[in-house]
Symmetry: C2
Subunit: 376 residues, 2 copies
């Protein structure tokens, strides 16, 4: 389902087909954790910001409103009114970052909901059942995301368990998608590589999960405490062992520069809450760097956020108006900022694809990697 179109050094231009359409890669997936994009954006706005894939969260939707309810409402696509590709993460990461009183056993994880404290058990089978109920196009493996720094011995044990869990995930998702009345019979499972920053553990784990011959593989457990250089080094060491004919997804990463560096190292899929979160604080991406729109100097600035940007906000409204909306604490400030920042991220990956198509990625990467993350 992944087609490699062009290679420039390690950087890959490709496409990936799903039951809800084909995705051009490299791609940035737009996060709608609770089946809604932050900043008041709806599924109707997603095409306008250039979104190709929407990403929702298994853990959050299981807790509220419940995956059974979403299944009854026809699945996540129908529930949120989005007919394009959806990826759901497995809940693993959220259990380890949000839930309390976690107990990890061979069968899965016992924990308390962050919303109402109720006891929940989630293992590979439960995560797959939930994701099957949601009916996403890509279901992610249920894994343990180990924070960094981590003990080598613990990471080894955890990787082994995550690999065993992956086999159970594969079997369970096969079961659920072949049932009568499956929400999305074409739903597939992607594996997740773990191993913290121990290159040999990453590679061993990758070899083991590659045997399951899944249609996609993610790099999980990065951007969780290590340095940016350690992250790049880990990707670089791991990449040769990832199947070349399958997409690679770097989970939860990152800044525009992180994306440029990771494409350079062979990654295809990205997601991150950063553009929405930064937008809500008035930090807006431009092709010259990140501006803080609340700054006094924009009070009488009649120009758009970024003169090079073609987003719905830049086409019609000024920095002056957007700054006023923040100062006046109008919700529209959040909507405009998230809209612009998501458009920027989607446009960044579009330009990456164009550069790859033109065989010009190296120069695009060198020209932009220094400036996009800087505060100006």
């Amino acid at each position: 389902m992944y087609k490699l179109i062009k290679l420039e050094e390690r950087a890959r231009r490709g496409e990936y087909s799903t039951p809800h359409g084909t995705v051009q890669t490299p791609v940035f997936m737009n996060v709608g954790t609770q089946a809604a994009i932050k900043g008041g954006l709806s599924a109707e706005d997603l095409p306008r910001v250039g979104c190709q894939v929407e990403l929702s969260n298994t853990y959050h939707l299981h807790v509220r409103p419940g995956d059974g309810l979403i299944r009854e409402m026809g699945g996540l696509h129908r529930f949120m009114g989005w007919d394009g590709p959806i990826l759901t993460d497995s809940g693993g990461f959220q259990i380890f970052s949000l839930a309390s009183l976690r107990k990890i056993k061979e069968e899965g994880v016992y924990f308390n909901s962050h919303v109402d404290g109720r006891h929940i058990f989630m293992g590979p089978e439960e995560s797959m059942r939930i994701q099957a109920n949601l009916g996403s196009d890509i279901a992610m493996a249920f894994d343990e995301c180990v924070g960094i720094p981590a003990e080598r011995k613990y990471v080894e044990e955890s990787c082994a368990r995550t690999a065993r869990w992956l086999e159970r995930c594969k079997e369970a998702l096969n079961h659920y998608t072949s049932e009568d009345g499956a929400v999305n019979p074409g739903q597939v499972l992607w594996g997740i590589n773990q191993g913290a920053v121990f290159h040999d553990l990453r590679i061993d784990h990758m070899k083991r999960i590659a045997e399951l011959d899944l249609p996609g593989y993610a790099i999980g457990g990065l951007a969780v405490g290590e340095s940016t250089q350690e992250m790049y080094d880990t990707i670089e060491a791991l990449e040769p062992y990832m199947p070349a004919d399958r997409p690679r997804y770097l989970m939860g990463v990152g800044t525009p520069c992180n994306i440029l560096e990771s494409v350079h190292r062979g990654v295809d899929f990205f997601d991150c809450v950063m553009p929405a979160r930064n937008g809500r604080h008035g930090h807006l991406y431009t092709w010259e760097g990140v501006i803080n729109i609340k700054n006094e100097k924009y009070a009488r600035d009649d120009g758009p956020i970024d003169p090079e940007c073609g987003c719905p906000v830049c086409r019609r409204w000024s920095r002056s108006y957007l700054r006023h909306l923040f100062k006046a604490e109008e919700i529209l400030a959040l909507r405009f900022s998230v809209m612009h920042n998501l458009f920027f991220y989607n446009s960044l990956t579009e330009k990456i694809r164009q550069a790859l198509d033109a065989g010009d990625y190296e120069s695009f990467y060198r020209r932009n990697r220094e400036k996009l993350d800087r505060r100006i």
Copy 2:
């Protein structure tokens, strides 16, 4: 500029032309106090909810970001990206409801800003200068809005002062709009009738301000403490004294039923924060009454908010999804609710106009006045 198209008893079907387009009346104006609609709606959304006139606030915009800044940015239309008609209220009402340490003198009002406490003076000339800087199509007179109950003697004095202020308003706005570089040379002034619920004072005041031959007249100082019946009775007593060839605007009113009753009594223009405020609390208007979307019974309701509604939300999303957005505290809940409620109000006045066109208003009014305000 007002053209009476059709009369059914006292109910009037008309149109009113402004420098930014012609308004079909009766009309509900959509409130964007601080140059932004609540719930994250932008000027781009206004046509989609059927908005004909946007209403902004002189006092709020003077305090923040400042009317001088908006003038520099090309005026309010350009600042907020809305090319249709704009009405600005004069600031009078807000000074009396929001500001602290008010002192009313013949020259105007001394008060402290509700944002930063700074001392501000506003009289008729200041209000007109601010509204000229904003460049709205309709500027409202600077008046004193007296709360109810009120002493008859105080109301008499206040009405007399408001009438003297109106003469100064007319002169000042004439001056500002004929200056070189006026933001909107076609801007006009509407007078505001006061007099609490003393019918004779209302009528005397109306006679006096009618002499100024202004292109529109508002009924101010209602829905500020009197009973609904007293409000209707006051409108009914006053209406015969309002110039028949000028539009009548009932300020800050009201529920769908209030609008039906007031159209029945000869009113043409309305505005109210209610659809946005109720929307933010999950109270949604339907043609059967008001529902609370947070109610448990909507958790698995796959239907639209209102099966008869053609708004962007009802066309694509379910009650179940909207309830989830509220429970999950997503900003999108506010956007969808405000969008639906504004569409409902605009659609209500559209149906009123259709009924008047068909000579059928009486029956439309009787059929709907009992049910639209009720909670179901």
